[in-house]
C-alpha cells in the first residue's frame, strides 16, 4: 500500500462525555475514541439486507447507530464522503495464526501449537500468546480485515480459538472479543496424535469426550482421587465441558468426505456443535452437512489433490456447498502464508469464489456475516446494522478486485491508518542507493 498519512480523527470535547458513559456501559473498550462519524454517499452493502445506493452509515462511540438512505447526520458528526465508494462491514478472517507467529521458521516467534499431552491440549488458550504488536496486524487491517479468528493447531485437540478485533492496541485483552470461541481439533491425521489409523484417532476422540463427560458428572470424586483414571488432564477435561454442553463449537479440520461423515456422526453422538475446516471434499457430502447444519470453513483457491484426504478437491467447492444450503466461511489458502503475512488476501479468496460460481453477495457474506453468525456473534459483527460494532470499511470499488483499496478502515468506530512495516521499507528504498543516515539534504 502507499504511504498513508495519519487520518486518525480527534475526539471532540462535545462527545467525550458521551464516550465516557458509553465506555462504562458497553463492552467497547477505551481504545475507541468517542465520536460520531457519518459515512455518506457511498454504495452501502449491509450484508444483513439489500445494498443501499447513496447510503449513510452513522457511527457513534464505537457502535453503528443507523444505516440507510435517509439517515439524518448530526451536526457534530465527522463526515466521511464515500461518494462513488463501496461501504462494507469489516472483513472477518476465520482461520489465522495472526499475532501467534512472526517468522514461521523461527520457533521462538511461533505460538500456535501447544505440546499437549497425547495429542490433547484442550485447555490451551492460543490467545494467551497473542502479540498485539505483530507486524502483520496492520497490513491485514489495511486491506479491510477488521476481525480475525486466532486459532491453535496441532495434535488431535489443538486448543481454543478466539475472536479478536484488529485494534491498534497494546493489549490482547483489549482486542479479544470472545475467548474461547471454539475448540479446535483434527480428525484426519492419525499420526500427529499418536494413533495408527483413522479409526483409532476417532476412538481417541470418543474416549476423550466420554471421560470429559465422566469428569463433568463426578468432579468431586475426581478431586477426591476416587475416580477411575481418565485420559486427559483435569484442565483439559474441564475445558471440554462447554463442548459437551453444545455451547462451544468443535471446529474440526478434516478434508476427506468419509472423515467429514465420521465427524458428523461423532458430533451427533455427543451433542456437540460441529464446524468443519478444510473440507476439501465437503461438496461430496454437502447434503449431509446442510442437514446437520454444520458450517464449513474452506478456501477458494484449492483444487489440487495435495493429499489422499483431498483427492476430490475442486475449485468450486464453496459455491457447491452454498448451493446445497451449507453455511460457508471463506478462508485464505494457497501457497503464500494465508494465516499471518497474507491474512490480508482474504478478499481475493472471495473474488475467486465468485469466479467459480458463488454469487457476489454470498461471497461477501462468507467473509463477514456468515462467520459472525456461525460463531454466535451475528448480533454485533459481520453486518452494517444499528447496534453492531462499528467495524466498517470504505473501498475505492469492488473489494474483491486487485485494483481496489480500502480507503477508510474503522475498528470499533475508530479510523485506523497506521503505516505498515512494509510501507516503511518501500519508502526507504524508493530511491537507490538509499540514504540511511544522515538524512539527505
Amino acid at each position: 500500500m502507499g504511504i498513508l498519512t495519519s487520518l486518525r480523527p480527534r475526539a471532540s470535547t462535545a462527545t467525550s462525555l458521551a464516550f465516557l458513559l458509553a465506555a462504562a456501559l458497553s463492552p467497547v473498550p477505551a481504545t475507541s475514541r468517542a465520536q460520531t462519524i457519518a459515512i455518506t454517499g457511498g454504495k452501502v452493502y449491509p450484508v444483513s439486507g439489500p445494498a443501499i445506493e447513496n447510503g449513510t452509515v452513522l457511527i457513534r462511540d464505537g457502535r453503528i447507530v443507523a444505516v440507510g438512505a435517509n439517515v439524518p447526520v448530526p451536526a457534530d458528526a465527522r463526515r466521511v464522503d464515500a461518494t462513488g465508494k463501496w461501504v462494507t462491514p469489516g472483513l472477518i478472517n476465520s482461520s489465522t495464526h495472526l499475532g501467534l507467529v512472526d517468522i514461521g521458521a523461527v520457533p521462538e516467534t511461533r505460538d500456535y501449537a501447544a505440546r499437549g499431552r497425547d495429542g490433547v491440549a484442550a485447555a490451551f488458550r492460543a490467545v494467551d500468546g497473542l502479540n498485539p504488536r505483530s507486524v502483520y496486524v496492520a497490513p491485514a487491517r489495511e486491506d479491510g480485515v477488521t476481525s480475525v479468528v486466532v486459532a491453535p493447531a496441532g495434535g488431535m485437540v489443538s486448543g481454543q480459538a478466539a475472536f479478536v478485533d484488529l485494534l491498534q492496541a497494546n493489549s490482547a485483552t483489549d482486542m479479544t472479543v470472545r475467548a474461547p470461541l471454539a475448540m479446535v481439533a483434527q480428525l484426519e491425521n492419525a499420526g500427529s496424535a499418536g494413533a495408527g489409523a483413522r479409526g483409532e484417532l476417532l476412538l481417541r476422540m470418543r474416549e476423550l469426550l466420554e471421560d470429559a463427560r465422566v469428569f463433568g458428572q463426578n468432579r468431586r470424586a475426581y478431586d477426591a482421587g476416587s475416580s477411575r483414571s481418565l485420559v486427559a488432564s483435569r484442565s483439559d477435561l474441564e475445558a471440554l465441558q462447554p463442548v459437551l454442553d453444545g455451547k462451544l463449537p468443535l471446529l474440526v479440520s478434516v478434508n476427506r468426505a468419509s472423515d467429514i461423515q465420521a465427524a458428523i456422526r461423532l458430533a451427533r453422538d455427543y451433542g456437540v456443535k460441529l464446524m468443519i475446516s478444510g473440507g476439501a471434499e465437503a461438496w461430496e457430502v454437502a447434503g449431509e452437512l446442510a442437514e446437520a447444519r454444520v458450517p464449513v470453513l474452506t478456501g477458494a483457491l484449492t483444487n489440487i489433490p495435495t493429499s489422499f484426504a483431498s483427492l476430490g478437491s475442486r475449485q468450486d467447492n464453496a459455491a457447491l456447498l452454498r448451493r446445497a444450503g451449507v453455511t460457508v466461511l471463506i478462508t485464505g489458502d494457497g501457497g503464500a502464508d494465508p494465516t499471518a503475512f497474507n491474512v490480508r488476501n482474504l478478499r481475493y479468496a472471495a473474488g475467486n469464489a465468485v469466479a467459480y460460481g458463488m454469487s457476489w453477495d454470498e461471497a461477501l457474506r462468507a467473509i463477514t456475516l456468515a462467520p459472525a453468525e456461525a460463531f454466535g456473534l451475528g448480533d454485533r459483527y459481520g453486518a452494517l446494522q444499528a447496534g453492531g460494532v462499528a467495524n466498517v470499511v470504505v473501498w475505492t470499488g469492488d473489494p474483491f478486485e486487485f485494483t481496489t483499496s480500502a480507503e477508510h478502515v474503522f475498528v470499533r468506530g475508530r479510523e485506523i491508518a497506521e503505516e505498515t512495516r512494509q510501507e516503511e521499507l518501500e519508502e526507504r528504498y524508493r530511491k537507490l542507493p538509499p540514504s540511511y543516515y544522515p538524512p539527505p539534504h
Binding site: 461430496e284 478437491s313 475442486r314 494465516t339 481475493y348 485494483t403 512494509q422
Partner: protein
C-alpha cells in the same frame, strides 16, 4: 500451514544467467551425438550435450482466427477489439483485423481477452508431485551441498495431476527446477504443459538448461551438521565448486581442440558447471537477501559466468540498481514474505520497484496453486505499484508473466509474445486477466487447442486421477 512452510524452506529457490561470458546464443555445443542418436566410437568418453532429447511434437492443429478479442500481445499496447490468426503452430497475424483465409476456423471472442501462454520460471511440478507423499518427493537431492550432477527432468513424474491444473490456469511453459536445499542443486528443465507418457515428450525442443543455485538459509540449515552451516560456508562452497569447474573446463576444452591422447575423465557435475562457464547453461539463483545477491554477483564475475535471473529476490527492491546494471532478471512473488528470516522484508511493491529501476521483472510461483493464478499475482503487484505512485501499464504486468519470463529462459525469440512467427501459445480469458473474476477458457499450445473449460473432452486427466479423483467438475 506448517506443511506449507516446510515446503517453502525446502523448495523455494531459483537461478539466473551470467553476462560477461560468451553469448549463449553464439556458443556452440560441445562434442557429442546430436539428438542422442547413432552412438559411435567414443560415445562413452565424449560428453553428449543432449542425451535425453525432446520427443515433443505439436498436436494437430487447425488454422484458427479469433476475432472480436482484446489482445495483450506482450509486445505492444493492448489491441482492443482485434483479431489473431494462427496456423501450423505459429502466429501468422495479429492486429485490429487479420486476413482470415477461407479454411480457417473463426472463433468470435465476444469481447474476451487473449494473452500469450503464461510462462512460469519457477516450478516444481512433477518433482514435487501431488499427492505430496514421501514417495513423490523428488525435488531435492539433499545428500551433498553441491549436486550439479543431477537433472530435474529425471525426477519429473508426467502424471502429476498438477500439470493439467496449471494448463487450465493458462500456463503453457514451465521451468522445473531442483529444490533449494543445495548450494548448487542441479539442472532445471523447460517443459511444455502437455500430456505425455515421458518427460522427454514434454521437453521444450531446443531450450537451454538452467542451473539451480541457492543462497542463504536453506543450504545452511540442511547441512548444519556437516557444513556449510553458515553463510560464509555457503560462499566458500560455491567458490570451491567453480574453481573445480574452471579446471575441468580447461582440461576438456584443450582435449576437444586436438583430441590428443586419452580424453579426460568425465564428471557429471563438473560437466554441467563447465557448460555454465561456456555460457550454454543459464544460472537461476535462488536468493532472498539484498546483501547476498550482491555477493553472488561478485562470485559470478570472479568466475566469468552470468546470472540470468535471481529467483524470489524478496529484497530485490533494495538492490534493483545492481540487478539492472548487470542485466540480471528478477523472478519474484507478488506478496510472499515473513515465513523465514530472509523473507522478512518482503513487500508487495517489489516487482514495481524492480521494473522502475530497469530490471527485467518476472512474477513466478514456486507453488502449484500460485502457478495457476500468475495473472492474479501480476495484478496484485501492479496494483501495489500504482498505489505507490509508480507509473505502470497493464501491459507491463502481462509482460511479467510472459515475455520477460521467456527472456529468463532465453526463449523470447520463440514464446512470450503474440507476434508473427512466434509459437502459437495463447490463452483466451473470460475477461481481463488482471481481474480476479477472469478464468482461462481455452488454451492453445503450438496452435493446438489443449484446454477448453467448456468441453470435457479437452480437459486432460492424468493417469493418477482415473478412479482416484472424481471425474467432471471444475478443477
Amino acid at each position: 500451514m506448517r506443511a506449507v512452510i516446510f515446503a517453502l524452506f525446502v523448495m523455494a529457490c531459483a537461478p539466473p544467467h551470467a553476462p560477461g561470458t560468451p553469448s549463449p546464443r553464439a556458443a556452440t555445443p560441445t562434442t557429442g551425438r546430436e539428438g542422442g542418436q547413432g552412438a559411435g566410437a567414443g560415445a562413452l568418453s565424449t560428453p553428449d550435450d543432449n542425451p535425453f532429447p525432446s520427443t515433443y511434437r505439436p498436436r494437430p492443429s487447425r488454422p484458427t482466427v479469433l476475432t472480436n478479442v482484446n489482445i495483450y500481445t506482450a509486445a505492444g499496447p493492448l489491441i482492443r477489439n482485434g483479431a489473431i490468426y494462427i496456423r501450423d503452430g505459429k502466429v501468422v497475424e495479429v492486429g485490429q483485423s487479420v486476413s482470415a483465409p477461407p479454411d480457417a476456423d473463426v472463433i468470435d471472442g465476444q469481447g474476451k481477452y487473449v494473452t500469450p501462454g503464461i510462462i512460469d520460471t519457477h516450478s516444481h511440478l512433477g518433482v514435487y508431485a501431488a499427492p505430496g507423499v514421501e514417495a513423490l518427493s523428488d525435488g531435492n537431492e539433499a545428500t551433498n551441498p553441491v549436486t550439479a550432477q543431477v537433472w530435474a527432468e529425471h525426477s519429473v513424474w508426467p502424471q502429476d495431476p498438477q500439470f493439467p491444473r496449471d494448463l487450465a490456469g493458462g500456463v503453457t511453459t514451465l521451468q522445473v527446477l531442483p529444490g533449494s536445499a543445495n548450494l548448487i542443486g542441479g539442472r532445471s528443465v523447460v517443459l511444455k504443459v502437455v500430456p505425455s507418457r515421458t518427460v522427454q515428450g514434454m521437453k521444450f525442443p531446443g531450450a537451454k538448461y538452467g542451473l539451480k543455485m541457492a543462497c542463504g538459509e536453506n543450504p545452511k540449515r540442511v547441512y548444519a551438521s556437516r557444513g556449510p552451516s553458515t553463510r560464509m560456508g555457503n560462499v566458500a562452497g560455491y567458490r570451491a565448486a567453480w574453481i573445480a569447474a574452471e579446471q575441468y573446463r580447461r582440461k576438456w576444452d584443450r582435449w576437444n581442440a586436438d583430441h590428443a591422447g586419452e580424453p579426460p575423465a568425465r564428471d557429471l557435475g563438473l560437466e554441467t558447471l563447465a557448460e555454465v562457464l561456456r555460457g550454454h547453461i543459464l544460472v537461476h539463483n535462488h536468493c532472498y537477501r539484498a546483501d547476498e545477491m550482491a555477493q553472488m554477483i561478485d562470485i559470478a564475475k570472479e568466475f566469468g559466468y552470468s546470472i540470468r535471473s535471481f529467483h524470489h529476490a524478496v529484497e530485490g527492491y533494495k538492490v534493483a540498481d545492481l540487478l539492472a546494471r548487470d542485466s540480471i532478471a528478477a523472478s519474484v512473488w507478488a506478496d510472499w514474505g515473513g515465513f523465514k528470516m530472509e523473507a522478512m522484508d518482503g513487500v508487495v511493491g517489489n516487482a514495481a520497484m524492480l521494473q522502475q529501476a530497469g530490471v527485467r521483472t518476472i512474477i513466478h510461483s514456486d507453488d502449484p496453486s500460485g502457478s495457476q493464478r500468475l495473472n492474479q499475482e501480476a495484478a496484485k503487484a501492479l496494483a501495489e505499484g500504482r498505489r505507490m505512485g509508480i507509473a505502470l501499464t497493464d501491459e507491463d504486468a502481462i509482460r511479467w508473466i510472459t515475455l520477460d519470463a521467456a527472456w529468463a529462459l532465453d526463449l523470447d525469440d520463440r514464446i512470450g509474445s503474440l507476434e508473427p512467427g512466434k509459437n502459437a501459445d495463447l490463452v483466451l480469458w473470460s475477461s481481463d486477466p488482471l481481474s480476479v473474476y477472469a478464468r482461462a477458457e481455452r488454451v492453445w499450445v503450438d496452435g493446438a487447442l489443449m484446454y477448453d473449460r467448456h468441453d470435457p473432452t479437452r480437459q486432460w486427466r492424468t493417469d493418477f486421477e482415473l478412479g482416484f479423483v472424481p471425474a467432471g467438475g471444475t478443477r
